[in-house]
């Protein structure tokens, strides 16, 4: 029995492009914000100084003006706590303030232009990006920027990287390993966009990232944006078209939310055909086709009764696919 005709709205929808985009940059106690809410920031503008090794020290803080948690402290010149000058007031206990500070700092730069929405010392800075964003599932590393290059249907191996890719953000197709990511970062690549990253590669890469972060001489920011999940799956057609249009342009990768941000007002993002669906799981995983109609509840292997839809693939074949296995970009 056919019900509800060809209502493709029964298929879960995923937005292809998000706008507006609010990006959160995390701060920890002692980090010094360099911007205020309402400020306009350009690409590469420093928005905060991050402490490498924050410490908490006691200090006597004059009562006038009244100190507040989150405020900054000006140490008296030549005093014992001069190293904490500009430190962040944390809390007062037994008439002495605890101040978070340190000597070594790293600049935190915004990889996109935008307007600062909110600044919370010790917590976060929120910036509304000028431009639009492509959502990922997760992003590892830190905010970065570079020229997008590579093809979503290509495979990238560690040996295939060369210095021409320095400063670029690479699109590497369905899957990548930790060795390639580590080597890419070491060669000056600014980021990688990939459809799937397995748990093992993710763990290995994060361990390498943690070791790099603790080094004195740090490499430029590097991010890995995972678009889809943890298993090998081709890039969705709509996403592939968007990445193709962005190829050669400067884009930013951010981690919170995990997203690729582009500021190209004149770029027209082609809307995917309304009945184009993608199979994200099961027998036909990774294939795309045209949603024909909902066909009601069907029995599938394993004894599950699932709502299904009829999908016609480009080779002309049709199949009843569980609606839970389908997705569409809007």
């Amino acid at each position: 029995m056919t019900v509800a005709g060809s209502d493709v709205r029964l298929v879960p929808a995923r937005p292809l492009v998000a706008s507006p985009v609010d990006v959160v940059f995390r701060l920890t106690p002692g980090d010094r914000p360099l911007v205020a809410a309402g400020d306009s920031v350009v690409v590469g503008a420093p928005i905060a100084e991050r402490l490498r090794d924050p410490v908490l020290e006691e200090a006597h803080v004059p009562a006038d003006p009244e100190p507040q948690p989150g405020g900054r402290w000006s140490a008296p010149a030549g005093g014992r706590a001069a190293g904490l000058d500009g430190g962040e007031l944390m809390f007062t206990w037994r008439n002495r303030w605890r101040v978070a500070g340190g000597t070594l700092t790293d600049p935190l730069e915004t990889p996109f232009a935008g307007i600062v929405r909110d600044v919370r010392p010790g917590t976060s800075i929120t910036v509304r990006a000028a431009g639009r964003g492509l959502h990922g599932i997760v992003a590892l590393g830190g905010p970065t920027r570079g020229r997008l290059q590579g093809s979503p249907d290509s495979e990238l191996r560690a040996g295939g990287l060369d210095v021409n890719a320095a400063g670029a953000i690479l699109v590497v197709g369905s899957r990548v390993d930790a060795e390639t990511l580590t080597r890419a970062r070491a060669m000056g690549v600014r980021g990688v966009v990939v459809t799937g990253l397995s748990s093992k590669e993710r763990r290995d890469y994060l361990a390498s990232e943690a070791r790099q972060r603790s080094a004195l001489h740090r490499l430029p920011p590097f991010a890995v944006l995972v678009l889809d999940g943890a298993v090998r799956r081709p890039v969705a057609g709509a996403v592939q078209a968007l990445l193709g249009a962005l190829s050669g342009h400067e884009i930013a990768l951010v981690t919170d939310p995990p997203m690729l941000i582009f500021d190209l007002p004149n770029l027209s993002v082609p809307a995917p055909p309304p009945d184009l669906v993608r199979v994200r799981g099961g027998t036909w995983s990774g294939r795309e086709g045209r949603f024909v109609e909902a066909v009601g509840s069907r029995r599938f292997p394993g004894g599950a009764h699932l709502e299904a839809g009829l999908v016609q693939f480009p080779d002309g074949t049709t199949a009843a696919v569980p609606l839970g296995d389908l997705e569409r970009y809007v």
């Binding site: 029964l10 995390r26 599932i137 569980p322």
Partner: protein, 515 residues
């Protein structure tokens, strides 16, 4: 989504459908209405479905929300443990630190993290010697962080309430600062858990509504009810009893975010739990990959091996639910256990009762049912208790799909035939030999009742201790299941043997169902 309507003067379940999040609710409602009209045009007409636009039909809506994050801090590790236990079963995902193990900078970093949604700081009542020294500084630290994050609710539990003065003027705060009793296990810790649950769950939360539904169902059926929910983002246990049995009606609600079928970040602990129940691969990386995929698209890949993964994930979630609700084993056993939640949505109904008795094991005889249309929570959210009870009374037969009765004798001796079962029913009966370690499946269709007469060779626990028992049993999709396995269940350490054993049990209950 389900469609209910008044038919012949009472509320009836007209239809229901399970679709993934992201499907347009208007399209799903239209699908349900179109199906109702297509299958029974007269019914559709009598309900006015052919006249009223779908968007104008009255709706009762609830939603399960991702658990929010609570930072739990205390003066000592000893004081921290009961606070974490209370918060973890009250709808919060917890991150904990004590003054013993974290310095003030680490603790401030934790409290100021942008992903934090609430703060619980507690001490014993009165504070113990090991925590007393740290309380003053801890109070000042928390008050300073709360000053900077004025939107966060703060709960001061037990002896920490004495530090309320450190928070100063709170008139401009957006989040509440509450003083609550100290954390304790068992019924004495109920008050703090209630405060935390109230803060954790929004008014339209489906898990909150399950408590009200359990209470109404217990009152209606005059039985002790357990509702066990396993969902994408958490699990719930609601035990409710009516006034007639113990004198006063009561409810114990535990909402455990760690008991979700697809935790946001599957750590080794989660993966190990899953591996324990997996009948396929036990490779940690592959299991973690599959858990991450399940998290991203819970209803994708739900056929074949995908079902086995979900069965393992549901059992792992139940195991977590059991870990965070240890006091449940002290409550009297339920007469009826109702399974609900997304975990069961794609599983064969017969497997559901087995999954529950595999993990939440107690000696006794229990009837199982499935909230197949998942409308218990929406009905529980009806604000007026009288109206809620009335609608539940009409719908009880429609919303609860009977899974059957499971009889689990405890204290069986190993390695031989332990007794026999004689079934006396309206459609005749039969005699079955009972072997320790086996699952005996006896066909007893939904709607049928019978008396199961058990004759054991040795003394066993089945309610009380004895050799001879006669138990009223009711049928269901899974019939009568006599579970002669160990209580608690003992599984082989070797993954391959364990997988074979789990598959054999699964095959027993699915006997006769095509794969």
């Amino acid at each position: 989504m389900a469609l209910i309507g008044r038919v012949g003067g009472r509320w009836r379940l007209v239809g229901s459908v399970v679709l993934p999040v992201g499907a347009d609710p208007a399209a799903v409602a239209a699908l349900l209405v179109e199906r109702a009209i297509t299958v029974d045009p007269a019914l559709g007409a009598s309900l006015g479905l052919d006249r009223v636009p779908v968007g104008d039909l009255p709706r009762v809506e609830v939603a399960s929300h991702p658990a929010r994050r609570l930072v739990v801090v205390a003066g000592s590790e000893r004081a921290l443990a009961p606070l974490v236990a209370a918060a973890s079963r009250s709808g919060w995902r917890t991150t904990a630190a004590s003054a013993e193990t974290a310095d003030p900078l680490e603790m401030s970093t934790l409290l100021l993290d942008p992903t934090v949604d609430g703060i619980l700081v507690g001490a014993g009542s009165p504070p113990a010697a090991d925590e007393r020294r740290a309380l003053g500084e801890l109070g000042a630290l928390v008050a300073a962080c709360a000053h900077r994050r004025s939107e966060l609710p703060v709960v001061l539990a037990g002896g920490m309430g004495a530090e309320l003065h450190a928070f100063g003027d709170m008139t401009d705060r957006l989040g509440r600062v509450l003083v609550a009793p100290a954390a304790h296990s068992g019924s004495t810790g109920h008050d703090l858990r209630e405060v935390l649950t109230d803060l954790a769950l929004p008014a339209d939360d489906s898990r909150r509504a399950l408590g009200a539904a359990a209470l109404a169902l217990a009152d209606l059926l005059d039985r002790r009810i357990d509702i066990v929910e396993v969902g994408f983002d958490g699990g719930t246990r609601a035990a409710a009893w009516s006034a007639s049995g113990s004198g006063t009606a009561g409810l114990d609600l535990a909402v455990v975010p760690a008991a979700g079928m697809a935790p946001p970040d599957p750590d080794d602990h989660v993966v190990d739990r899953l591996a324990t129940w997996s009948t396929g691969t036990t490779d940690r990386h592959r299991l973690r990959d599959r858990m991450r995929e399940l998290r991203i698209a819970p209803l994708a890949d739900a056929t074949g091996e995908g079902i086995a993964l979900r069965m393992a994930a549901a059992r792992a979630a139940l195991s977590s639910l059991s870990t965070w609700t240890p006091e449940w084993s002290e409550l009297p056993p339920a007469d009826l256990v109702v399974a609900t939640g997304g975990a069961w949505a794609v599983m064969p109904a017969r497997s559901v009762a087995l999954a529950l008795v595999d993990v939440l094991r107690r000696a006794g005889a229990v009837q199982f049912a499935l909230d197949h249309a998942r409308i218990l929570a929406p009905l529980g959210s009806i604000p007026d208790p009288g109206e809620r009870r009335g609608i539940l009374a009409d719908l009880a037969d429609d919303l609860l799909a009977p899974l059957g009765t499971v009889v689990t004798p405890g204290g069986l001796r190993h390695g031989h035939t332990v007794g026999a079962l004689r079934l006396h029913g309206a459609n005749g009966g039969g005699e079955h030999e009972l072997r320790q370690g086996n699952l005996e499946l006896v066909d007893l269709p939904p709607g049928e009742t019978a008396v199961a007469e058990f004759e054991f060779h040795d003394m066993v626990r089945l309610g009380g201790r004895g050799r001879h028992f006669a138990i009223d049993v009711t049928g269901g999709l899974g019939g009568l299941l006599v579970d002669l396995r160990d209580v608690p269940l003992r599984l082989p350490d070797r993954a391959d043997l364990r997988g074979e054993m789990l598959e054999a049990w699964q095959s027993t209950v699915l006997a006769g169902v095509e794969s």
